[in-house]
Amino acid sequence: MAPQHETRTTDAPDPEKHQERKLSYPTETPSVEGVPAPEDSKGWNRERVINLLIRNAMVIVLLIVMVFFALRNDRFLSVANARTILIAAAPFALVALGQTIVILTGGIDLSVGSVIAVSAMSGAWMAVNYPDMVWLGIIVAILVGTFVGLINGLVISRLNVAPFVATLGTLTAASGFAYVIGGGAPINGLPESFGTIANTRVLGLQLPVFFMIAGFVILGIVMRYTAWGLRVYSVGGNRTAAEVAGVNAKNMLTSVYVLSGMLAGISGIVLASRVISGPPNLGKGYELFAIAAVVIGGASLMGGRGTVWGTLVGLLLIQTLNNGLDILVVPAYWQAVISGVLIVAAVAVDMWASRRSSS
């Protein structure tokens, strides 16, 4: 036994968290004991409104961006354009959702782009070889995605490899597999029925838009009303404390990466269905896009803070921006520059706002 350190279950103190704790100190000291504030003061005083605005800073940014584009071009505010934005956002929605949950645990999943590719390629391969059984391709694609997620989860939770490194590994390996499946080339000659998944329209909207809506609604509910959701937040907020409270953190971490992989698998099959082929570079760069949406949505990369709703706002903000700049005929390269600047600016605004609201 090494008696020189006071034994505790915590690992080496995380410098970031540490700082957070220190920052919280001044607010903690003066808390007046014995003065319970009224349980719930209804009524709209000024402070409440300001707090509400600050808490939804990103929604306001989104509205400002929309107003800006609407004033510049009247084509922007139309049902057709709203539909365009939703359709453009849909393919990213599921991976951004998975990424949200992973980031809530303090992790990151860099592999989703490649998981899209490898599951799309396996689905496409199945569809070419068993053209009568499209559903088999779908199932295989989802299973492949789930499997990669399981590997991520096990490597991270059991072998204690940092999520960044573990998923960087699967990012590279899964991408390699995607090319192996197609022999280095896209898989073509898929049955037409393969396209029904992505190209069927309901109420003038393609199915993936409904997948997006369903995904946000379901996970929104899961995160708020289930024990699993609460445990995700606890493991991300303070893993040791969660373990002391009986949460099996390893299983929680594994489940989160499995979910992310599964959602990427679904995205893969949807994307392949849209083009009715299997390009091995499908989904490239989606991981960074997804991370951007999550972070704009107010999630902390340290874990424990963020919401599914925030990610939706982040996703829509990015898409609205791209769409609006398209309408204003801003060249694509400049669009990238503007998007990049806005991502950082949005997060800076959010940090400022959350500091305001906590002080």
Binding site: H5, T9, P26, S31, P36, A37, T226, L230, S234, G304
Partner: protein, 508 residues
């Protein structure tokens, strides 16, 4: 002669709540002033003002008799006022000498780092302290106490004339404090003025020339050590006699609540056996690092144990499984409240409901109303003061945070309560409340295991005390023993290995 450092009529409030009210104190060259007081009394704030980390609202700070209108950290450093913080922040992946010279590196003629020169000078600096460290060791190889000595060395080499030591002994094992004391005395002999914050009375007696006590932001005592007997210091710190904090003890019931048989936490190490009756508070005494935390964590299953049996009532509990322990009604209040007890970013509701979340959910679906009702009841039973259940736990005071840590085990029926330093970092007002909560829980029939390094607390609350040294139980004191006047000394003798008895209580 002017004092090296003096503050006059210092005032400070955070968010409208005063934390310092009209505080004046001074320290002369070659003097050690013990700054005592409970948590939240304002000790740290004084230190932070003097070192420029926090700005004062009113009052004056004088260095060598000259008033300093504005202090920031740069100014403080230039004036020779240095602090060795409670939570050290070295550069763990740099060497000792690099740590010593960061910010005032030595250069060669060509502008490169003069590593040889720094190494030599570092060696001399450490030799002065008679500390045997190779300056080229990596900082993260050093124990906390040695790291602390390096930090003190750093302060002196910056030319500090006044050094503030913030609870320096709180993070290091008792057997290493002697080295710290030696360094403090050496610095005093060199004419350095020192302010030393501590809770420990023994330490004040050993080191201080003068005692200054703060309570609730006010200065309540400033005396030469000779004029400040121990009980007077205690009374000044807590504002009343300590005994009044402890409720009367209750008679334990007959049924055994917790049985631990031959629990071996460390492979090949000693085993521990103990029984706690329902309604009984069994204290675990011993020095910091004696292995008490490990025993509690082993019982709870969060720390791996290798052999032994654990029974709650008559039912065996699977070892190494916190969730099995929780199902059996075992509750752990860990020593490190913020690190292991709470998710600070989450609400009171979420924190309190986490351990028993499956009890208010069906197939993972949380029943909101049931959960709120259970949390409400549990928080009321510990008289939690919060702005409602949705308040973020990180914004509660230390005492109320600790109540949340306890309350979260009370949403379902608990049988065994393992408390590890339950009042660490809790101010004195809330401390009495927590004692009452513990006492009431025991009275309802819980078996309570109480680990405490606070001797008064251990004796004041426990029905029985076992003393642990090197992971083994080395002595036991019955209820009658605890009423003896020599009880503190006996516990200390067991804890430090001066005395030993076997399990049946006969002295050897």
């Amino acid at each position: 002669m002017h004092p090296v450092l003096e503050v006059r009529n210092l005032e400070k409030a955070f968010g409208g709540v005063p934390v310092l009210r009209d505080v004046s104190l001074s320290v002369h060259a070659g003097e050690v002033v013990a700054l005592a007081g409970e948590n939240g009394a304002g000790k740290s704030t004084v230190m932070k003002i003097v070192t420029g980390q926090v700005q004062r609202d009113a009052g004056e700070v004088l260095v060598n008799g000259e008033s300093v209108p504005h202090i920031d950290t740069q100014v403080a450093r230039a004036l020779g006022v240095a602090i060795v913080p409670q939570e050290l922040a070295p550069y763990p992946d740099l060497t000792v000498y690099e740590n010593l010279f960061v910010g005032r590196e030595m250069h060669t003629r060509f502008g490169f780092l003069d590593r040889r020169g720094m190494l030599n000078q570092a060696r001399q600096m450490l030799d002065v302290f008679e500390v045997d460290i190779d300056p080229s060791t990596l900082m993260n190889r050093l124990s906390v106490s040695v790291t602390q000595l390096v930090e003190i060395a750093k302060a002196t080499t910056w030319g500090a004339k006044a050094i503030l030591l913030d609870e320096p002994s709180s993070a290091i094992p008792d057997r290493e404090v002697d080295r710290l004391y030696a360094v403090v005395r050496k610095l005093r002999a060199q004419g350095v003025a020192m302010i030393y914050t501590t809770h420990r009375l023994a330490e004040i007696q050993q080191l201080a020339d003068r005692v200054v006590v703060l309570r609730d932001g006010r200065l309540v005592m400033d005396e030469a050590l000779a004029q400040a007997p121990e009980h007077a210091i205690v009374r000044a710190m807590i504002g009343r006699d300590l005994d009044s904090l402890f409720p009367d003890k209750v008679e334990p019931r007959h049924e055994i609540g917790l049985t631990v048989r031959d629990l071996q936490v460390e492979r090949g190490g000693p085993t521990v056996s103990l029984e706690v009756r329902r309604g009984e508070i069994l204290g675990l005494g011993g020095l910091v690092g004696a292995g008490r935390t490990e025993i509690a964590e082993g019982i709870f299953g969060i720390r791996e144990s290798h052999a032994g049996d654990i029974l709650v009532g008559d039912n065996p509990v699977r070892r190494n499984s916190p969730s099995a322990a929780i199902r059996a009604g075992v509750a752990l209040v860990p020593e490190d409240r913020k690190g292991a007890g709470l998710v600070l970013l989450q609400s009171v509701l979420d924190n309190t409901s986490l351990p028993h979340i499956s009890e208010f959910s069906t197939l993972g679906w949380i029943h909101g109303r049931e959960r709120r009702a259970a949390v409400k009841q549990a928080s009321e039973s510990v008289s939690l003061r919060s702005r409602g259940m949705d308040q973020i736990v990180g914004t509660l005071s230390g005492g109320n945070q600790q109540k949340v840590v306890i309350a979260r085990w009370l949403t379902e029926e608990a049988n065994v309560l393992l408390l590890d330093e339950p009042t660490r970092g809790v101010d004195v007002g809330a401390r009495g409340e927590i004692y009452a909560i513990i006492h009431n829980l025991a009275a309802t029939g819980l078996a309570v295991l109480l680990i405490s390094s606070d001797m008064q607390e251990l004796i004041g609350l426990s029905n029985r005390v076992m003393v642990v040294r090197d992971s083994a139980v080395v002595g036991e004191l019955s209820t009658e023993d605890l009423q003896h006047e020599d009880v503190q000394e006996r516990i200390f003798r067991f804890a430090s290995g001066l005395e030993q008895n076997d399990a049946d209580g006969t002295a050897a």
